[in-house]
Each structure stands twice: as C-alpha cells, then as structure tokens.
C-alpha cells in the first residue's frame, strides 16, 4: 500500500499583476511531502520560493491569482473558503515566517501569542493552555520558560524570537511545518540549534517539513529531498544526495560551484554570469537560457518541461550537465 502523502501540490501557479502587467511569480510547481519527510526548496531571491509556501496556505489569494491543486491529506483545499481554510491553517499546517523581528506582534506578550493559537485550534481551557505554552517554550529551549511568558517580543534576542515563532507554529501539533528561511537572520551557532530542533521534531512527531532556504549547506545537512527553483519554476528535483552530489541542471551546477568549499583559497570563484530575469519579461524559452553555457538553438524557443530522468530525479533541461567532476572541475 502506498503511504498517503500529507501534501500534494500539482501545477500550482501564482500570478500577481502590476499596472495591468501579469507577473508570473510561480509557474506549474508540483511536489509532495510525506510524513516525517523534509523537503528543501532552494533558489535565489525572487525565484518564487516564499510565494509557493504562501500560496499553499491560501495567503496569496488576496493579492494574486492562484491556480492548480493543493491536496491536503487527499482533499483539495485550494478552493476552500477563508473560514474553512482557517481550520487547516495554523492547526494542521503551520508556518514559520522569515523575519522573527517583524512577524511577532510587539504589543502582545509572548505567552498570549502562543495561547492564542491554542484557543483557536484546541479545546484546552485557560490553565491547560498556559501549561502547554510553557511546555512549548521549554521544548524550543528557552530558559525559565514560565517566567518569560509575560515578556514582550522586544525583550527577546533574535534567536529567541525565532524560537518563539517555532513554539507558536508547533503549539497545536501540526502535521506539516512550512518554514520560510527560519534561520537566515541568525548566527551559525544558533542556526545549528534551531535546525537540530526542527529535525528532532520531524522525527519524533512524524511531522512533514518544507524548508525554504538559499543556503545549500542547510539543505545538505537537513533535507531528504530538494527542489531547485528558478524564475518561478522548479528546474531540478530529487533526493538531496543525488541532486547535490551530481547536479544535472546547469543552474544547480552553477549554484553548487559558487559555494566556496573545497576550492583553493583566494582563487576566482565560479559565478553564474548575468542576473536573474525580471518577471515582467521572462525569456520565451528556458528562463535560464540567457545565463546558460550549455544552450542549444531550441533553448531560446521552447521551454523544457520538468520530466523524470534517472531514479526519481526530475529535470527541466534540454542539455543537462552530465558529470560535474569530468567536465567542469
């Protein structure tokens, strides 16, 4: 029997419009997350990673046009009313937002912000909610949790605030966690602590995680599967080991090579030439073609589809890079 996936997204597209112009922020994105699975979503800023997550939760509906299907435990939730969506959001699917500095309400105490989620989604009474809030803060590693419930966000440091965000997200025991750059604003030592915590919870509570990041190191160390996004589309998708060890899409190769690891110090780093295209005028063919070194004539005319290649890997490229070591090293 095939295990039921938690989240299945098919052909998700989100289009914003500005001054009558359509901005395709996300195009035909499909992926699925199972129980206890950690999926990494990587790409440069503006590649549509965050918008994808927001579209899953129905947060982009108000600003743009969202099409495609989002299946949560088998039911399509993309057409849910705001009211019905609210029962899923925060309760079954929780999200950690990028900036711990701005996503907490500065006027409410941390304790209130955690118990707020609980009163919306659980039947616990006041005392139980308080108890759970202390438990959550304890779990995310905030010392003397009981005393800190009455503190305001400004009394916490950046790392602590991010932990509070995680505590809020996890308070109602969600089955899926969408984490939008949870550690980008933090120092490496704190980043390691937070990622360890998320991994531990994924394992212990069998929680699915979608981790958006632009740090390939984070993906390598925490995720099982990874999807690389470029200009709103997934260009390569597969198991982490497969994709990072032998990337096939020229963009993934470029990303991997621009990380200064295992290169002689003070030599020129590889960099992908050019800049990402603006959404207002995406190239007709493959969006990466203008920056790609492996182009052929049809790259500029036709858009490559995301197709299965070897052993579960999906790739959208006409001229994949075959071996990283042989040709490029």
């Amino acid at each position: 029997m095939i295990e039921q996936k938690l989240l299945e997204i098919e052909n998700l597209s989100t289009t914003f419009s500005r001054g009558g112009m359509a901005l395709p922020a996300v195009r035909d994105v499909s992926f699925s997350v199972g129980k206890g699975e950690v999926l990494g979503l990587v790409g440069e800023s503006g590649s549509g990673k965050s918008v994808t997550l927001r579209s899953v939760l129905g947060l982009s509906k108000r600003y743009g046009d969202v099409t495609g299907s989002v299946k949560w435990c088998g039911t399509d939730i993309s057409g849910f009313s705001e009211r019905k969506m609210r029962q899923v959001r925060g309760c079954e699917i929780a999200m950690i937002f990028q900036e711990p500095m701005t996503s907490l309400n500065p006027l409410l105490t941390v304790g209130l912000q955690i118990t707020e989620t609980l009163s919306a989604h659980t039947k616990l009474n006041g005392a139980e909610r308080r108890k759970r809030a202390i438990e959550m803060l304890d779990m995310v590693g905030i010392p003397s949790a009981a005393e800190r419930l009455g503190d305001y966000p400004h009394q916490f440091s950046g790392g602590m605030r991010q932990r509070v965000m995680i505590a809020i997200a996890l308070a109602a025991h969600p089955k899926l966690l969408l984490a939008d750059e949870p550690t980008t604003a933090l120092d490496v030592t704190i980043q390691a602590q937070i990622l360890d915590l998320i991994m531990l919870l994924a394992k212990e509570m069998d929680m699915g995680v979608v981790l958006v990041t632009h740090d390939l190191g984070v993906v390598a160390q925490t995720c099982r599967n990874v999807a690389v996004m470029y200009a709103g589309r997934i260009v390569e998708q597969g198991a982490v080991r497969q994709v990072l060890k032998s990337p096939h899409h020229p963009y993934t190769v470029g990303l991997m090579r621009s990380v200064p690891q295992d290169v002689p110090p003070r030599t020129q780093l590889y960099s992908v030439p050019g800049t990402p295209p603006s959404l207002e005028n995406l190239p007709a063919g493959c969006a990466f073609a203008p920056r790609c070194q492996n182009t052929s004539s049809n790259c500029k005319i036709e858009r490559p589809m995301l197709v299965n290649t070897d052993a579960g890997r999906k790739l959208a490229c006409f001229n994949p890079v075959q071996a990283l070591q042989g040709e490029l090293a």
Partner: protein, 332 residues
Amino acid sequence: MTSTVMEIKDLALEFKVSRSIVDVIRRRPGKVVRALNGVSLHMEKGETLGVVGESGCGKSTLARCIVRLYEPNRGKIKFRNQDIFAADFRNDRSYNKRVQMMFQDPYSSLNPRMTAGQIITEALSVHEMRPPAEIPARMAELLDLVRLSQDAAEKLPHEFSGGQRQRIAIARALAVEPEVLIADELVSALDVSVQAQVVNLLLELQERLNLTIMFVAHDLRLVRHVSNRVAVIYLGRIVEIGDSESLFSNPAHPYSQALLSAAPSVDPDDTSGAIRLEGELPSPLNVPPGCAFHVRCPYKTENCTRDIPVLRLIENMGEVACHNAEEIAKNA
C-alpha cells in the same frame, strides 16, 4: 617584503545606555555596553584580514572605529605609525582618503536621490582627486573597473540590483584611491551566485591595486576563501588570530572550534561531528568575569571563571586566548 599598515593596540569602546527616568529617580547607575574590550591586531600591506564572530560580538564596531566613525575609550589605532585619534591628526581628511569603508546594506548605504554618477563624482570632487575637467573620464574608468555599464551613471540606486549596488559602493570607495578597504559584511545581503561575482571582483581589484582589506563577515566559508589571516572575536575580544588555512583546518580555541563546525557543509555525506554550543551569546551589557566564553565552554576549569586569558602564541597554531589550549589540543 611586508610592512605593517595598521596597528591596533588594546582598543576598548563602551557605549552608555541612556538611563530611563525611573533609573535616575532610583539612583540606579547607568548601564554600559562593552562593545570592545581590548582588541589588538595588525594588518600588513596587501593582505586580507578576515574578522568573524556572532552578531553583537563587536565586529562592526571594530570596523567603524578604524574609519573614525566611533572614538574608542581606550587604546590606539596607528596607521603607518600615526595615531589616528591624535589631536593634530584628527581633522586630517587625508586619512579618510586612504582608508575607506564599504557597508553591509546595499539598500540604505547609497543616497536614493543621487544617481550612481553623482555618488562617485561626489567622492572624487570632495577629495579633489582630479581637476574638475577630468572627473567624468575618471568616473567612466571607475564604472568600468567594477564592471558596470556606462549608462549606469545616469541611474538612481533603486534601479540597480543588490549586487550592482554593492559595486557602486566599491567604486565609490575606490574613487579616492585608498590603501585600505574595510568591508563590513559586504556580500551578506546578496544571493550566492551574485556573492561570488562581488567577491571575485574584490579579489581581482586587490591584486591589481595592492589593497589591504579587512573583510568582516559571518559567512565562514567565504572568509576562509578570501582571507590570508583570520581573527575570531567573542564579546569584544579576540579569542584567536592566525593564518587562515591553519585556523580553519585546526582551530585551537573552543569557541572557534564550535563556530567553525556550526557552518553546514554542502556535502550531504559530511556529517562529521558538529560541536553544538549551549545557549546564546551573553549580553555585552553584562560580560561574564574571567574568560567571557566560560559560560558556554565545554572545557572550562576553575581558572577560567577568574582570570581573563590573554592572547599568546601557541606552537603550530596562531595566537589563542585560552587557558587550556594545550590541553584541548592534546585531547583532540
């Protein structure tokens, strides 16, 4: 042959926290943020000195002291044997010309109402680098140097991407033909692929113009890549300083060890034991006595809570400020 360009001795800087009215009434003493607690280092001509540490450790404060944005409470900074805070040198603008700083945030460090051309021209004319007639030609040369197209001169900062803005900042800094560049988190706000472009440019310009660079950053892989020597700072104090490669491959101070192992490797198979630090950086309002790191240190001894360790040269390693460095190295 190398020569010392910059010498910093025992630099200390405290910021007074403004007292609230309640504190004044209750006669509570004002609090003091101890941002730097005695930093000593030197920079040689043509080298890159990397400075790493967690946020709040005093990296940026150090950088700002060097360009005289802050005045230290104690200690000296000598540039070519000239004390830069000496009364007769303080207003000497030629220093600002020879030591230039580039800032972290490419979105707020350029005046949004000046075009890229005006920004660079301002630097050229204020310091009278060229006679007015030659300024346009020099500006074109600078844009070319940082690989921006000539029509960039007419554009306002918001029309550029983050990477391009940082290049304008580099062009502005280079306009006055400095000897020393202070790069405070120059590429932290940029994406990996753009980061590589800016770093490449910096390395290339350094070679061509024989610049001395202080590279302040929190991305350890990047610091390892660009630096000749690296200083690790913890709560306003250097805990380890030494040759980049040997420090990264064989860190001696327990804090450097933890910091370096916390950077995730891009190789999924490389799960080699990361050392996890407990807790967070203590507040600089309240620096622990003795070795400031002892509250998080797995190797602490009684001595650590009492005496402040000084930087000392350890064989086969750089300079380390730890009482037990030899013991730790032996057991590793």
